[in-house]
Symmetry: D2
């Protein structure tokens, strides 16, 4: 432990993603959090806004980039999109490393970004340098990256569910349907009527059908992994719970296949990936089993009833704030800086 | 109101479905409940087992069919499958009418029944007489029926979502995927670890993937309505809420279609069906909006991104204990006896 | 039914209390709702804001008192305090009857009102005419009233729990502790961070300890009923559920008493009060058993362990939006207009 | 880290308390879990019963005391009462140390034990040796103990709330009322209708009023700390949430007191107690802020309205499975073995 601690800062720390990141980094063995910002809560002790975080004397400070640039080597950006674009560029030019939890550096094609986010991308060369922070697929590129585009929560659950088979010829990449169920923390902490307790409790509904911004992100990565044209149907749902995404993924096979072989493919693909657990035959992933952890649980099923080919059903479960956001951000940091990939991420979650 | 009240009995009244039926029938304008049975709670006042039902002096009695047959003209059966088979046959032979909420008379083909329910069907001629109690499709047959097979909860949400288009040539009936999310009351009131509060709360999971018993029921009815071969993929999920089923249904189109025309088809199909509400463009069904009511809310969406044709996405929401069980049972009774189809079923549900 | 329907209007109908009132009144046999207002949603169909209320063509309209005064005979006010004060005065002068669900006409002493609500009361003579709308105590006065101050939700649960014994000499009115647990709907529908799903879910906390505005209301009524000086300790708590208030009430006895006699007192007091159920020995009130109903369930217990006298423990359960607000408002209307006291209020609530 | 790890075993590991203990011990820096028992699940891998616990190869084994005694030095007993009595005696005679999470060694007076637990205590001399495992009060005795009676969950929340003032003359120990609200995990994992999801969800109720077994435990400890006669009124409530106990405690003062001075007393009492946080003026404890942690949050309020003296209101919040059971058990172990008192217990809980 003679090595000096890595100094990190969190920009935008008053939301659920920021506070989860802070929770992880405060107990990380190789890191020291030197700053955390919040425009609205500037000056307030972190422990006042988040009663569960008492082991810190940090106070929120304003987003003064010049001052902040002197305080840390690595910056986690939990800022709104567009703001993140500019902030990342400033910090990169100041020689800093960046893990951006917004969507700003995820979409490689600026035209697609503009179409879905209603704002132009102004930093094309930096966009090209950004590595999509999916450690289970891009570990080597992450190791050398200066700027990481941390994946969205739905894309994480969908891509991990499909990565092991999307390259294979026995599946038809144009039949993918992703039906995702998410807890409410994904919507953030800002007051809004649809996310009030009495509106969410005891209800489930679909939203943003055919129009959710994570659609092009999922398609881009599935195309990149498979080197095929991929079009998906993606339907997110809002659930009456705090955390968790369960994605039920459907894909048609182009010929008869054997379930056991597919399960073996998954086991092989994730053998040396410490945070993906391929569950045994007939065991169902549940969001509660991964709540509070960085794990992704996956099971694969085969429906043979269809008369036109068969359908693979893949179910994946993650905690949207951990594997779906802040946990993967820490995992990416671990890889970038040569720490153990699981450092600070292996505490078993509580149950119930 | 000079007409005498119809005398009805509920066999198997100590579960959630039975108590919901009792709640509806106790305030129904044309009905008198003369008996309600429960083996385990025989002798107990209903109000002791169900504190929310105080306006009744009924006591649970044992399932003594000879005695019961004298007490009512119409019998609602909320019994386990197999028991229901025999009980229905006895009552039918005694000249009674039956609404069976079990699965015993739903599956027309005894071989299919035996395959999925692990027991033979012993009353083939009565099975032929049974009418599938889906009022939005079989209203005329229900009017004349002596025995009604009341639909399952998942089939109700799935069939109502597909009935208006399944006959049409522009959809491919072999691409149907039904992804359903259900509250916990569907699992009944008997103690069981997976349905304990701490197991269900804050979690979502899939179960019975490719093997749920409602699969052949859905396929049978979709075939019957469409007069085509239909194979489905059906995935049920358990949700942390008491009531409600949201079904997200996917079906590929065989040619380019216009969403507005499809929505018009739904509007036309359900125009004179008092309990189905086709929601306007961009409004999302939510289980909370139908909780405690007999309504089914439906919205239709079109995904044009797929390169191979398009995908229709239909979302339907019901209360599993009402439109998915006891509410439809009362609606069927109303039709059988010439009451107003909505009698006793129009109280707006509370919110939140 | 030859009698013409009573025309009523709801002022402030876009919150939870207003929509609950609307739900009840739309299915009330003797009433026609002619107007419902909302400043923010003026022009919007009610069914668009509240998907569960489809059997109405009403649209929200602005609060134009001159126009509204021509539309109805009875006005329900679900307005913020202070606004309610003035609105009630205007309508009273126009010869209308008023049921005010705000706090403006509950506190008899204008000084106490000013102290707790931070605004003066400007209509002292109307304040004197207002009857506190607690039907179980003031039924005769309500019958003749022109303006009703509908009780607060916590006061309703507390006063019904204490009314049968507070006059008796065997209890000490200065030892009352009221520990109340409330669902979240009591906080209203306006967006606010502390009432977001992720803040309320999986948590319980006390709030407004020693300072809640319902304190003087409870004390005023307990004094009025007992004709003694009464000081209470009142602690409200926020619960992770939509509806329901459970109040656990403690009061010391000044001599040894017999629990059975106390239970008889409660039975006698509430014998002809259709909405209060005194539960049998050892049965515990639960908010779920009254959810969606206008009932108040009460049980009484006796703790004999204390060395200094004994302690009575009274537990009461109500639905805060029904018996705690809109249900009692309808009950008051029924009494004022000579309808059956239970008209429109006897539908059994659903369970679970 | 050259020191050998302490070998520990958990007897009765298939419930919520046992699995929580396992979770904590598996990541504890100074401990190795060598055995965990379960009669019902003997032979099953722990990871199959508890999907959230994957970083262990442990299997449940039967309760064979002779074999187990060779496997560990310290035994955690999560067994039913009576079984625990005998098991502890066997292990003590075998020279082992014991932390008993059942109630068997908590009640010092065997007559009181027999009265409340309906079974005699057969090991009086061992009972005398047992130390009540409340580290904030008995740290020195715990350090030297061979057998610890780990406190009950409700007593923990109540005693921590009262310990700083119960010795003081300005409070009246015969006016204590403890109104506690608990999550459902306290009821254990065995299937039981009252704890099914649909029964608990959306409801709150009191239970075991005047008769809960934690009553004599709380009184015994308050007497021991205060050296006065103490009689309490204790009312537990069941809440629709997994974890957490909030206790709202009322005690009358015998003279006028100053709130700030009382708060200072609390600050002083808990200054060197790492797991108790006395919150600042006007900050309310919430169970969510301590969920998943070993902290107890406490706030103190003063009601001056009473005409007969004043009432102190103390609110305490704990996680019933951590500070209320397994967390304190680990804390006791840390003290017994000279580890840092917070070892393995300082991970910040997640939020939301």
């Amino acid at each position: 432990m003679a090595k000096p601690l890595l100094e990190v800062a969190i920009l935008g720390g008053s939301g659920y993603t920021g506070s989860e990141l802070l929770r992880l980094l405060l107990s990380h063995p190789h890191v020291k959090v030197t700053a955390v910002t919040s425009e609205r809560s500037s000056g307030t002790p972190v422990a006042d806004l988040f009663l569960h975080l008492r082991n810190t004397d940090l106070r929120f400070e304003p987003l003064d980039l010049r001052a902040l640039a002197k305080k840390a080597d690595l910056f986690f950006l939990c800022l709104p999109h567009k703001t993140s674009q500019e902030t990342a560029a400033f910090l990169f030019n100041a020689g800093k490393k960046i893990i951006d939890l917004s969507a700003d550096y995820r979409i490689k094609d600026p035209k697609v970004y503009r179409e879905w986010y209603n704002t132009p991308h102004l930093f094309h060369s930096l966009l090209k340098k950004a590595v999509y922070g999916l450690p289970e697929v891009y570990r080597e590129q992450i190791r050398k990256a200066s700027i990481i585009a941390n994946p969205g929560c739905y894309p994480m659950s969908a891509i991990l569910g499909l990565a092991p088979i999307i390259r294979k010829n026995f599946v038809d990449p144009n039949t993918i349907i992703i039906d995702s169920k998410s807890g409410t923390s994904g919507a953030g902490r800002s007051p809004s009527q649809p996310f009030m307790f009495c509106e969410v409790n005891e209800s489930v509904k679909a939203y943003a059908v055919t129009s959710h911004r994570h659609t092009p992100e999922i398609e881009q990565e599935l195309r990149s992994i498979s080197r095929k044209k991929v079009n998906i149907v993606f339907t997110p749902h809002l659930m009456p719970m705090d955390r968790g995404i369960l994605s039920t993924i459907y894909i048609r096979t182009s010929k008869k296949i054997d379930l056991q072989k597919v399960q073996n493919l998954y086991q092989d693909f994730y053998r040396d990936k410490p945070f993906v657990r391929v569950l045994g035959n007939g065991i169902y992933p549940a969001t509660k089993a991964v709540k509070g952890s960085n794990f992704c649980d996956i099971s694969v099923f085969l429906n043979k009833r269809s008369s036109q080919g068969q359908t693979l059903i893949i179910v994946s479960a993650i905690d949207n704030l951990l594997k779906g956001a802040s946990g993967t951000a820490v995992q990416n940091m671990n890889i970038m800086y040569g720490f153990d990939e699981t450092a600070g991420l292996l505490n078993a979650p509580h149950f119930p």
